[in-house]
């Protein structure tokens, strides 16, 4: 069986750098939009700006996932299989809750809820690794 030639593996530092770059762009855009009086058009452009570094990060993430060995792919799948429904349940619960209890937008706006996603993903990752270690 012929093996396809292997590409040079992505450096962890490079991936971390691109990930940090994405978050920095997001924070800068957030601060500018929130704290300054930018024109509406500029504000909209800034709201979409973090998508570009995110796409670079996503491309790297896709490559790392494809090149990971089978156990790592399985662990990633199990982590996502935990995080995705858990996030859905969280959103559904908050949706129901806000019908009866006023939820403060300072804590539960769309600007804050995304942070639960990586937290749930890492929880799923820890649970999955516990099974195979």
């Amino acid at each position: 069986m012929l093996e396809s030639p292997r590409r040079k593996p992505l450096s962890g530092a490079l991936m971390f750098g691109v990930g940090v770059g994405w978050v920095v762009v997001y924070i800068v855009c957030l601060l500018v939009v929130k704290e300054t009086d930018v024109p509406r058009g500029v504000g909209i452009a800034l709201a979409f700006a973090p998508i570009l570094p995110f796409l670079a990060f996503l491309r790297m993430l896709g490559r790392v996932s494809r090149e990971a060995d089978e156990l790592h792919q399985r662990v990633q799948l199990e982590a996502l299989a935990f995080a995705y429904p858990a996030m859905m349940v969280l959103l559904m619960t908050l949706g129901l809750l806000e019908l009866v209890v006023p939820l403060s937008p300072d804590d539960f706006s769309l600007r804050h809820l995304w942070a639960y996603m990586p937290a749930l993903y890492f929880a799923g990752l820890a649970l999955a690794w516990r099974r195979y270690k």
Partner: protein, 64 residues
């Protein structure tokens, strides 16, 4: 499924890392297969059998 991976690896004096490099997976994968927490794909099972010059049936046994 049970397997004889640890025994065969020990006979050759290879570390988990060495075996992992030979078959192109991570050390964690070899460890998970050896401890029978993870059942490898057919492709990896073939590679492991080839490395130890044996057959999949000799290496893995259905059971438990």
């Amino acid at each position: 499924m049970t397997n004889r991976l640890r025994v065969l690896r020990a006979e050759r004096g290879w570390s988990q890392q060495e075996l992992a490099e030979r078959v192109g997976v991570s050390r964690q994968t070899i460890n998970a297969v050896e401890t029978e927490r993870y059942e490898p794909s057919l492709s990896l099972a073939f590679k492991l059998a080839a490395i130890f010059a044996t057959t999949i049936e000799e290496l893995f046994e259905p059971g438990r």
